[in-house]
């Protein structure tokens, strides 16, 4: 039952990524050129509604659908990992025009070359695992 709920949420997410055009390489390029409000509108409205919902969950002790306490782990404190890691991700995001959610959505749309991006990103994660102890965190 829980597995079905994860699948349905994923399907809603995938449809939204495609229909919002957030999975389009062109929208990412346009966003970094500051030539459209579209992507800023999507991210901005998600975050504003997200802040309200998360504050609600934290202040009114809402239980999950399965009666558990909802855990929202805080992010560990650091500067360098978020800045350097973020810059590397941003370079890839703009080049491949896809982040880790949309790249899977695009497989379903039928773009075969996106599979190259996915395999390369799994390899990139593997490289990080190999040298992480040598990087500033």
């Amino acid at each position: 039952m829980r597995t079905v709920s994860y699948l349905l949420i994923g399907i809603v997410f995938g449809i939204t990524m495609f229909k919002s055009e957030a999975a389009s390489w062109f929208r990412i390029y346009e966003m970094f050129k500051f030539e459209s409000f579209h992507m800023y509108g999507i991210i901005g409205s998600t975050v504003i509604i997200g802040i309200v919902l998360v504050q609600l969950i934290k202040r009114v002790p809402i239980k999950s659908f399965y009666g558990e306490t909802i855990q929202i782990p805080p992010k560990a404190k650091s500067f360098s990992r978020y800045m350097f890691g973020g810059i590397l991700f941003g370079l890839g995001w703009a080049l491949a025009g896809a982040c880790p959610g949309p790249m899977f959505t695009l497989v379903g749309v039928g773009y075969v070359p996106i599979i190259v991006v996915i395999i390369a990103s799994i390899f990139g994660t593997f490289l990080y695992g190999l040298i992480k102890d040598k990087l500033p965190h």
Partner: protein, 185 residues
């Protein structure tokens, strides 16, 4: 019902993504797609080479199911809910892109120069897809999250580290588009 075949405007898409994040919290999970890349490394046996991949990946199976859903959602969205997938980006952006050699700008969902089947036999396109992918995979794990984990989940929880990460995303993205693209296209 025609609206469903049209691209969804930001004020529909944004609330839908917030709903996805909320539903994941309500089923006891957290929204973040890049963790799956690490899980896939572990499944492929990366635990032999680094402690980073030695964890109980079965506890992360739920997130792989979300990914499977995202793939199915892409299929449904494109095959049953869209008649014309061309993305109507700003005409100025189209002009820019044509100047860089992207003739498909304004006429397609993804640039054919990078994402049609010919890209697989074109060394330059293939190389760019591989480099882009590696940077996404490496960067997202180094930063501890991607757009969903930091820009959506982290900022929604008012996490300062996520704000730093989002600044990083933009420094990287702006550098790629404004400084590196003119050199490679």
């Amino acid at each position: 019902m025609d609206w469903i075949y049209e691209p969804w405007p930001w004020y529909v898409s944004g609330p839908m993504i917030a709903l996805v994040m909320f539903l994941l919290l309500m089923v006891g999970k957290n929204f973040g797609m890049s963790s799956n890349l690490r899980t896939m490394c572990t499944i492929c046996g990366a635990g032999k080479t680094s402690d980073f991949f030695r964890f109980d990946w079965k506890a992360q199976r739920w997130n792989l199911v979300v990914v499977l859903g995202a793939i199915i959602g892409g299929f449904i969205g494109s095959h049953f809910m869209t008649t014309d997938a061309a993305v109507a980006i700003n005409p100025d952006t189209v002009t820019d892109l044509k100047g860089l050699g992207f003739e498909s700008a304004g006429k397609a969902y993804l640039p054919t120069e990078l994402f049609d089947m010919n890209a697989l036999t074109d060394i330059k396109s293939l190389g760019l897809l591989i480099i882009g992918g590696i940077l996404v995979g490496f960067g997202t794990r180094y930063a501890g999250g991607c757009t969903s984990g930091h820009a959506i989940s982290g900022l929604s929880n008012l996490q300062f580290p996520s704000l730093i990460a989002v600044f990083g995303f933009f420094i990287g993205g702006l550098t790629m588009i404004h400084l590196i693209f003119p050199l490679i296209f």
